[in-house]
């Protein structure tokens, strides 16, 4: 159970760093406009 949870987390989190980077860029653009 624990291992399957960890494996699923690893699987679902693979693209998270890229998504977080994109979000930071989007928010910074919005901040410049505001």
């Amino acid at each position: 159970m624990m291992l399957s949870g960890l494996k699923q987390a690893l699987e679902s989190g693979r693209d998270l760093p890229d998504k977080l980077d994109l979000e930071i860029r989007r928010l910074k653009v919005e901040l410049r406009k505001a």
Binding site: G5, L6, S12, G13, L20, E23, I24, L27
Partner: protein
């Protein structure tokens, strides 16, 4: 005739003056209301801008902190998943290994209940973050369950004896 002219003139003059005063007062009141309304609108819009900027700055800070946390977890996860093969026949050491796996979701545990994230972040990103941390929370609950059930069961006594004897006996946990 002269007298009549003066009385007509003064009557007209005062009537015009009165009418002018009334119109001036009405215009002044209207101007006052209009300018006041415009000023309060401007102040409100400025306030909204300041609030929006503060929200955006807060969101950037949250996402940067989450990024550090997620990167750390993604770096640690492969080591957590890697099952030490030499522990297959050693249930107590296996239990110890399970207990020592550090599944840290404290940042998410603080941020998520605050209810601020849905207002600040992109829904798609929020969904991915919820899935990622959800699996970790599930894994941690399973870890707690396994640890607690082993500690509570009679076999945990045998496990303690096994640890004391230095792992020489083969006890089933």
């Amino acid at each position: 005739m002269n007298n009549s002219f003066c009385s007509d003139f003064s009557a007209n003059f005062f009537a015009d003056l009165l009418a002018g005063l009334i119109v001036a007062v009405i215009v002044a009141l209207w101007l006052n209301l209009w300018v006041g309304k415009r000023l309060s609108e401007l102040a409100g819009s400025e306030q909204r801008k300041v609030e929006k900027r503060a929200d955006l700055e807060k969101a950037i800070h949250y996402v940067e902190v989450l990024k550090i946390d997620v990167n750390g977890l993604l770096e640690a996860l492969p080591h957590m998943i890697e099952w030490p093969r030499d522990l297959v026949d050693e249930p107590f050491r296996k239990l110890e290994w399970v207990r020592q796996v550090g599944i840290h979701t404290s940042l998410w545990d603080i941020l998520q209940p605050s209810g601020e994230l849905p207002k600040l972040l992109d829904p798609d990103l929020l969904g991915t973050l919820t899935g990622f941390y959800g699996h970790l929370v599930y894994a941690r609950r399973a870890q707690n369950f396994v640890t607690a059930s082993h500690l509570a069961s009679p076999s945990s006594v045998a496990a303690t004896q096994l640890r004391r004897s230095g792992g020489r006996q083969n006890t089933q946990i």
